[in-house]
């Protein structure tokens, strides 16, 4: 099997929108950038006024950020378009944004936006749900283990990030579909179902072991495998919530026909609709084998 290549983030950007969460977001992203040894870019879409400058300088001094280490770029235009352009222009690896936990009508993070961001700008997307100025620990990371060519890279990235952020546990969660399992009618059905589940789990366990084998996994990290039956997308989000994880890492969505994506709920939609934790969508170039 091919060795998995983690995305090592060396250029991290964040969007400065001067919202109430701006300072906390900046603090969080700066901390991540420092830990990863990456250069921090602050993008601002719109006109950079005097007030912006003052507030921004205040942030920097409050957070003890050396202005020389940060590249601030300001450009006017449509936020969605300009942000992606800036990311391409500066070859950003990771775009970190403060996200609202639940969608509302005005700030909707849909799959299409997430897809666009990842594909067009070739960038991974980090959605921060609860940044704090004083910082939080990232002890527990949940990463998807779905059977897909992108998965090894995603897991490797999660592991790399775990080392940088000094996390303790990494949960590799494999979502198994319940479609093949019939709803049990009686006691015999329950037993049959349990047996089938064990079979499926064993098969996936073998696969995951192979995948984990080709990733560079640090020794200090406690890696746990978990197989869960349920609806893909929703299940891993609920799991992250139940386990009180600090970060959820998933594959980027594949390129599909836009229309179909809107009609049929995409896995990512469940996660984006109700973010359980911070979310990292890892951009990899390995596309679907069968489109």
């Amino acid at each position: 099997m091919i060795k998995a290549t983690p995305r090592t983030y060396s250029k991290i950007a964040t969007a400065m929108g001067f919202s109430p969460m701006a300072k906390a977001n900046l603090a969080e992203v700066h901390r991540i950038a420092q830990r990863c040894g990456a250069h921090l870019y602050v993008f601002h879409i719109g006109t950079w006024t005097e007030q912006c400058e003052t507030t921004y300088q205040n942030f920097l001094s409050d957070l003890s950020i050396d202005p020389a280490q940060v590249t601030r770029v300001s450009k006017a235009g449509d936020p969605k378009v300009m942000l992606l352009e800036l990311c391409s222009e500066y070859q950003i690896d990771l775009l970190a944004l403060g996200a609202l936990v639940r969608e509302n009508m005005f700030k909707v993070f849909t799959v299409s936006i997430a897809r666009d961001v990842c594909r067009k700008a070739q960038v991974s997307l980090l959605l921060l749900t609860s940044s704090k100025v004083e910082g939080r620990l990232c002890e527990r990371i949940v990463v998807n283990g779905v059977d897909h060519p992108k998965t090894p890279d995603t897991i490797a990235t999660a592991a790399w990030l775990a080392t940088k952020l000094q996390s303790k546990e990494l949960f590799v969660v494999d979502e198994l579909s319940e479609k093949e399992l019939a709803r049990p009618d009686d006691d015999k059905g329950v037993l049959k179902g349990a047996r089938k589940r064990k079979q499926m789990e064993r098969a996936q366990h073998d696969r995951l072991t192979a995948v984990l084998g080709c990733c560079d996994l640090p020794n200090a990290l406690d890696i746990k495998e978990q197989h869960v039956f349920g609806k893909p997308g929703y299940t891993i989000a609920h799991y992250a919530k139940a386990k009180r994880a600090d970060l959820l890492v998933v594959n980027s969505p594949d390129t599909k026909l836009g229309l179909l994506d809107r009609i049929f709920k995409h896995d990512l939609e469940y996660i984006l609709a109700d973010l359980p934790t911070d979310l990292l969508i890892v951009h990899t170039t390995k596309a679907l084998v069968n489109a």
Binding site: D185, D186, V190, V228, G230, H238, Y239, A242
Partner: protein
Amino acid sequence: MHKPTSGFKGFKDNWQSDLKAGFVVSLVALPISIALALASGAPAIAGLISAVIGGILVAHIGGSFVTITGPGNGLAVVTLAAITTLGGGDMLAGYYMALGAIVVSGGLLVLLGSVRLGVLADLFPTSAVQGMLAAIGVIILAKQSHTMIGTLQPESSDPIPLLVEFFSTFETVVLWSDPASMRIAAVGLGSLLFLILFSRIRVAWMHIIPAPLWVVVLAVAAQMIGTRLTGESFFAPEYLVQIPADWMSSWRMPDFSGITEGPFWSAAIALTFIASIESLLSIKGMDRLDPYKRMSNVNKDLRALGVATIVSGFLGGLSVVTVIARSSVNVSNGAKTRAANFFHGALILVFILFLRTLLTQIPLPALAAILVFTGYKLLNPSQFSRIASIGLEQLFLFFFTFFATLVFGLIAGIAIGMFTTLLVQFFLTGAGWDIVRYFYRPNTLLFEEEDGKFILNINYFANFLNYPRLKSKLDSVPAGSTLIADFSNAAFVDHTVMEHLSGYIETFEQKGGHMELVGLDDLAPSSTHPLGVQSKRRGTLQGSSKDIALSTKQEKLSNYAVLNSMRFTAWPTPDWDQRVGQFAYFRYRTIDYTTNLMEHESLDLFAIEVNSHSGEFIMKDTQHLACVVLNVPNANLPRFVMDKERIFERLAHFAGVPDISLGHAKFDQLYALKGKNKKRIQEFFTQECIGFLVEHPAFHMESNGKAILIFHKERVASVAEFKLMVNFALQWAELMQFTIEKNPTITDNNDQQLRE
């Protein structure tokens, strides 16, 4: 307990207990089937055909284990409406057209079962269903009360006007009419009186035969003796059951001519709907009562009921449904497999073939009285206080659905009930918009941890609408596992789900596993069931009594305990359920929780209050008991029950067992002593014991060989009663110690288990 195997081997092993149970059920089903046919407006034979087909056919192709199938209460209401409407007033023509609708509804049931729509039963909110069933009871009662006093054709047709009419015509019909009519009313009212007082009758052997059969036997006796004496039929012929001698040869095909018209299909759909609700709820209820806790295949059962309904309809019978009342009788008489259902059907067929003339001597008012009594039991006024204690909004939902059903009919009633339940939840729980936003989304997560424990995490909320998802996750956990259901991410959990969950906890424990509910602490009281409150308390306060204010009673008990070298625990841990549940008294009861535990520090004795229930669904009856358990682990005492008010006799397996006399006049008068090994028991009760028991005649006692259960009354005890009971138990313990030391042979090893 070993689960009976299915198939022929299971039949071979268990046919005796199944035959006995089937026989007792057939004695109950016989009068009820005829009565339900009359309540439906169909000929008497229709009910009997449906019971016979239900028993014989469903036993072979069904998916449940201890259910009894035949004509049902809810169906009677719908069938009557169908016959009246389709016949346009001509009951006979309507009957044949209704048969057509019945056959079609059978086909629809097969369809429902084939597409696995059995899951729909899980969608109904508990209080609304209870309200609907209570309304069914009143509807039956209202109509039949007239037949009971002799008015075969009352003027009104809706339940409430019927009730009003009953009371207004009662005087004239009963008191101021001719002797023949007064006789009719007398047999009806007399039967009703008999049924009401039956449970109080102390004569043991009478309880072997079920009450409805007694009513029929006595009424037939009255008819036959009266006819012999007066020379003509004691009761006018139109008041007797009609089963024509040529009932088999006069068979006609059902009338399908209405198949192109609207009313035919609305009748068929109504029949299907009510048949499926009644059956599914009964099957689910029986799963809890099954001593082996087998899970029934509801879809297979639905298909079986559908096929049986088709066959029954063609032969002239009513729809076949699963009936919980008869099924409960089946289980409490020791049924093990589906063969019991078969025997019940076969025996009814035997009765029809050989006892037809006797059956035609049954006066209708007696059957009507049985139905009035059944209707009253469905209404079950004792459940009102229980529902109120769960929550006032549940009581509101119950009565709202109850009246909606009475006024608008069954289907509209339950629909209104469901809708209202949703509205109530929307406004009362404070999470109303969550319901709208999330009800279509998945909300459950089940996974196995490294140590083999299953974790079920519930998101957003849990109510009757998304309960099927929760249920399928719960059903997929293998028996014997430990399951933790975590509700901390849920905004609310409604009563229906709490009720289902408590059933699952029971089943889990029974199958050797363990299930715990966590995360309910911060939920508002109006949306959690007191049983939920209890388990919440159990989860957080296991074994400790600090941090909660004790009630006055509990404080007094606590003080008493300290003074008598006992340790008081207000909320004992769940394992105490088992320590009390070992007695035959609890054989068909399920212990919900225990409170007010007092453990003696040196003697192996404890006092406790037990909250239990028996039966499920409409037959559920909760009970509180204060008792003392005295353990004598090293001895092997004779097994006996010492009864004061014939409490033990009410249990089927003690009825008919003769009393043991100890030769002491006073003792024999005060107590009824029963047991298998007469000699050992007589030896055990020494003169000192008898003397003591005669001095303190207030208590019941059961010995199961290793421990003794002592209690006074089947209700919550006051502090004074508790003290008396504990004192009695302490003295009795001393006395037993003394007896065993003096006469060690009492406790040797050759006693047999008290047989059922």
